[in-house]
Amino acid sequence: MSLGPYASFIVTSYSLVAAVVLILIVWIAIDYRRQKERLRELEASGVTRRSGRSAVDTR
């Protein structure tokens, strides 16, 4: 597969898309962990939801 004289533009475009999508995935995954961790800490300190159900459980 030859990308011709403008290969750098094509490779940069695809690399950028891959990088931004990866950043989005990692950011969302880290945010999920962080929120669950905060909820665990709050529950461990004795604060519970009015319903009595665990705030960490998402199932």
Binding site: Y6, F9, S13, V17, R38
Partner: protein
């Protein structure tokens, strides 16, 4: 589970936990297929191999508008029906929409330099998409600036609906004004003008990126629901300590 059950954040979280792995798998399969088809697509007789940029630029450009459309529906949900998940949906979609719009602008520029001889032109299509990007950033800033989610929700919903006026301007800018950007070649009256060798990889990529949005959006909504639970528990903790 009925549609009305989804108004309950706990049931929404339960559904999300079940379908997210399947959605992520389907997204990965479609995007890998799309990237392979894009790599194998023939060169265009005018653009050469640079046509490959279209397979990522066009889906991102479509999604930049689609996401704002989703946010506009969510804004109606906030203002009219006061749906508990409407603001969560809008807030979670905004950074993803901003990322797609950024990619549409940058990949467009990287295609424009070799094809048009310039990275940027202040024509109606490019300028209106840049405005869309700035509106995404403005909305994200608004949500971050106001601590109370319910107070931010109403202002953000109104701003989203005002911003939706930009969507037809983006779509029809190439017809209403004389632009350097070419007119629509897929979503147009009379059907697509693209050859199947380009159309099929483009559509596979478009479906793949759309599924990527759905997957990321559901995951970000789940995070936002948890963030609001954290906030409620922190308020409860503060009031218990004060009492």
């Amino acid at each position: 589970m009925t549609l009305i059950d989804l108004a309950n954040p706990t049931k929404f979280l339960s559904l999300t936990a079940r379908i997210l792995p399947w959605l992520a798998g389907a997204t990965a399969i479609l995007l890998i297929t799309g990237f392979y088809q894009a790599a194998m697509a023939p060169d265009d007789y005018q653009q050469g191999a640079t046509v490959k940029i279209m397979f990522i630029h066009v889906p991102n450009a479509w999604l930049s508008m689609f996401v704002w459309g989703v946010m506009s529906l969510a804004a109606l949900g906030t203002l009219v029906w006061r749906h508990p998940l409407a603001d969560v949906a809008a807030k979670a979609a905004a950074p993803i929409g901003a990322a797609f719009t950024f990619l549409a602008l940058v990949t467009g520029s990287l295609w424009g330099r070799p094809m048009w001889g310039t990275y940027w032109q202040w024509d109606a299509r490019l300028t209106s998409v840049l405005i869309l990007f700035l509106m995404y950033l403005g909305l994200i800033a608004l949500w971050r600036a106001v601590d109370d989610p319910s107070r931010a929700a109403r202002a953000a919903a109104i701003l989203t609906l005002v911003g939706a006026l930009n969507l037809p301007i983006i779509k029809f800018s190439v017809d209403w004004w004389n632009t350097l950007h070419q007119p629509a070649s897929v979503l147009r009256m009379g059907g697509p003008t693209l050859d199947r060798a380009f159309l099929i990889p483009l559509l596979v990529m478009a479906v793949g990126f759309s599924l990527l949005f759905v997957t990321l959006h559901l995951a970000a909504m789940r995070n936002e629901i948890l963030r609001r639970r954290v906030r409620s528990l922190q308020i409860m903790q503060a009031s218990q300590q004060a009492a």
